[in-house]
């Protein structure tokens, strides 16, 4: 069986556009608030949710750290809403995604690494590797959909993919 490897590229808003949004303090959406005491980087991603549910805020805390090289044999998607992850301390995230199409193959996957401050927002239906972190205790703020209907499709890849160092 052929071996597929992925080397993450630095995350930018442009590169990530087919998959979702980058949550970051880039200059182009800034305005001031509170008598100039703060700069507000406004409306950085698309919160999207099916009307059968609602958006919610949660925190994920890493209990078991992952390491590179990392084997990916499944991907998942959320058909009912977007899903944002923002690190609650500065640390780099690895993100592996494929476009929000009906089907996905290992060769569709691309990998990104964040700059330590960036968060990401998967658009509804974007295929992605389940969340990993490289240190126990690292926390992410999550903004995603909650409701009564099942909202996670898991797909076993046709080939195992190995995620390498950037």
């Amino acid at each position: 069986m052929p071996e597929l490897t992925l080397v993450p590229q630095p995350l930018t808003r442009e590169r990530f556009a087919p998959y979702g949004d980058v949550v970051e303090t880039s200059g182009d959406r800034s305005n001031v608030m509170n008598d100039l005491r703060f700069e507000r980087f406004h409306d950085l991603c698309k919160i999207d949710f099916d009307k059968g549910g609602r958006p919610c805020i949660s925190i994920a805390r890493c209990k078991s750290a992952s390491a590179l090289p990392y084997r990916i044999d499944i991907v998942e998607r959320h058909p009912l809403g977007s899903q944002a992850f923002v690190p609650l301390t500065p640390f780099q995230m690895m993100v592996v995604v494929a476009p929000p199409l009906a089907s996905v193959e290992a060769s569709d996957l691309v990998a990104f690494v964040t700059n330590g401050r960036q968060g990401i927002n998967y658009h509804r239906g974007t295929w992605h590797m389940p969340l990993i972190a490289f240190e126990e205790g690292q926390q992410f703020l999550i903004v995603d959909y909650t409701g009564d209907e099942a909202n996670c499709d898991v797909h076993s890849l046709d080939e195992v993919v190995t995620l390498l160092e950037a």
Copy 2:
């Protein structure tokens, strides 16, 4: 004119309940996800928004640090939606609030200090001091309402309030 001072008390979910939610990793809403690699603290606050708009994610960065004692002469409220602030690095926040009633006086205000990890979510209509931070560059993730209608009422207090050290 009498002088009003406020000494912040440690923020807890119970104490803050009349005003909003605490966004934190307390034990009672935890479940595991992603093959036990993460603990998820689920649905920590009420995202509430008028149907004329939608919720959005933004980042606020402190340009001008405040210091204690701090004078408060106005409060504000957002009639169309909730507003969450979560620190993007560990730092303590000071929060001054009054219940979401039609009117507010200086004597209605109470002050809280976070433990450095906690975020908060003001319920729709909760009166609060405008955001302050004590170090330039500190960042908050914001989840609040965006739309075309005006969503900030500002009220000048009948007495100036001085916020003291905890």
